[in-house]
Amino acid sequence: MSQVNLLPPDILQRQGTRKLATTIVVGGLVLLGLILAFYLLQANRLAGVNDDIEAQERTNTSIEQEIDALEPFADLQVEADQAVEMLRNAYAGEMSFSQALMDMSRITPSDSYLQSLAVGLESPTVDGDVTFVGTLAFNAQAIGIDTVALWISRVEEIEGWVNPWIATVETTDSSLDIRTFPVNADLTSEALTARGRGDMGDTGG
């Protein structure tokens, strides 16, 4: 059996419109509710982040206080570094003259002797890979030209002693073949002590 709607069409239309308006209003309220819920979620999140910031700031303040308490040790470290630097400056370019004398004694041939010796440091000059730091000069006497030659070849065996040169060899006594000669040599940075080259070893770690 079929149903027949006996409502007039204008009332039916008004009912449809009211239903649609109600649906829109309800949908709108739901939307506004969702927006409000999202807002509250954001507000809650903000409060959480602010709490985290506060906690972080407290942690940072605590670390800063520890740092302040440790600051004198940093000053001490700086002072120690400056002290080592000062010592490095003091010993810069140092050569062991006692070692130079021992080396000279070691290379002197047995049938010869030293008459005079001058060792001096100068302002370093660089020539290629080599840094010259001073000069060495000595006068000596030896029996026979072989001894003279031996001596000059031995000079170069010493680390940092380079360019030995004999300008003249004079025969002082021809019957004994005694020769007198001056030797000049250059000193390079290899002749310097470790601390003279800036290595302060254990001082200040």
Binding site: R18, I24, I35, L36, N60, L70, L76, A90, F97, A118
Partner: protein
Amino acid sequence: MGSRRAPLLAAIGVVALALLMFVFLVLPKMGEVTEAQDELSVAEGREQTLLAQRQALEVAEAEAPENEATIAEVQSAIPEVADEAGLMILLQNAADTAGLEVSQFSISEPVFNPESGLSAMTISVSAEGTYFQIADFLYNIETLPRAAKVLNTDLSPSTASTTGSPTLALGATMEAYTSDANPDLPGPQTESASGEEDE
């Protein structure tokens, strides 16, 4: 006619209200959250920096005894004042230990070198002794508790040679140091104090 427009008006009203709420409530709050998160990131980053700083300071704390010893050692090697008297005694002891006969010591007034931050005193020594006594003396100078550096030596036959090992005359120049940046003023002066003095 009016009732037909009601749903449309309701829809417009709802959308407008939703937009207003989103723009004036939600968006600012979201902005605040982003700002707060940035602030938190900065604070967390600062914590890392502070932790690294604290770690470095803890190392410095552990090394404090060593650093104190270094400072004391350097202050002994390079005193804050020239201490000429102490230096003379050290030089004489170095010569006596080596058995060297010193005929003359001369110590110049300290001269400040801004490059090294030190004041240097030039010491000239004239002495007589055997070759190995001279070597010993130079070794004693090189191992003095006070920082000293030999600059040059000149050995020549001595006129007063005796029997046994030949005696040599030694002429040597060396340097000793003080950290006093202005030796003309009494007491120790720091480099900065000296600078102010100059100005």
